[in-house]
Amino acid sequence: MTLLTMMALITVAIVVQRNLFAVVVFGSIYSFLMATALVALDAVDVAMTEASVGAGMSTVLLLGALHLTRGDEVKPLRRPLLPLFVSIVIGAALVYGTFGLPAFSDPQAAIHTHVAPRYLLDSLRETGVPNVVTSVLASYRGYDTLGETTVVFTAGAGVIALLRRRRSEKKK
């Protein structure tokens, strides 16, 4: 609970801060807090990925982009009243929606009674991997992981296509 409150505070700092370098550093702190919260929520694999990819790689990418662009955000011309209004209305609707959801860690919630017990009971016998996350990711849902790899490949190809054109233009 403390962790989540700290995350909310960091988010406020990100919204308010206009120096983009500070925003990137706050974003890194935010990712580390998120990774810690994920460990507390028993999602150790996800926490490891978030700490390396979210706090590590994303920060490096953002700093690289900042190096190529400018470091400060200008003041907006008009007051952001409409976006604020839209955000608050959507937030209120979502909070209203949570009243129908099961409380935190309720063992009778639908999420714990349907598909998950089957994986927890049978996956060790069927795949021989004790880590259920690994067995689902690599064995049962292997095609999804293939799709994910395709997405990463496409993004990488896109980045190369965008940045290579720049270099050849400079030569001209």
Binding site: V46, S58, A65, T69, L84, A103, G158, V159
Partner: protein, 121 residues
């Protein structure tokens, strides 16, 4: 409905709304991408927090444990993190290109330059 039982949902929604607000209200393209990232990470919490069982452990099977947290959201979110960083990289590459074409990464200034060009034609 109780305060501690729904606190994670509300923090998740707060993060989500903060990300949405940055994406809509802020003109700086790098800041917009960071807002998009906050929106994405809030979805991680949305998925993983309901899968936690108090007293359970991480879903790595061992003889001495009997209660495990739900592994399925973890699998989904592992995919989401990797896809998130892929979109971030692509978005930043586009921002770098925009900066070279327009010499700015502020949305208002880009639109102004576009209008000026149209007026010339």
């Amino acid at each position: 409905m109780s305060f501690p039982g729904h606190y994670t949902y509300w923090v998740t929604i707060f993060l989500m709304i903060a990300g949405l607000y940055i994406v809509i209200a802020r003109g700086n393209l790098v800041k917009k991408l960071i807002g998009l990232g906050i929106f994405q990470t809030s979805v991680y919490l949305l998925y993983i927090a309901p899968g936690k069982l108090i007293g359970g452990t991480a879903p790595i099977l061992a003889a001495s444990f009997h209660t495990y947290s739900n592994p399925l959201p973890h699998v989904l979110i592992l995919t989401a993190i990797v896809v998130g960083v892929a979109t971030l990289a692509l978005g930043l590459a586009i921002v770098v290109r925009i900066r070279e074409a327009y010499d700015t990464i502020e949305e208002d200034e880009i639109l102004e330059k576009d209008r000026a060009e149209e007026a010339e034609e």
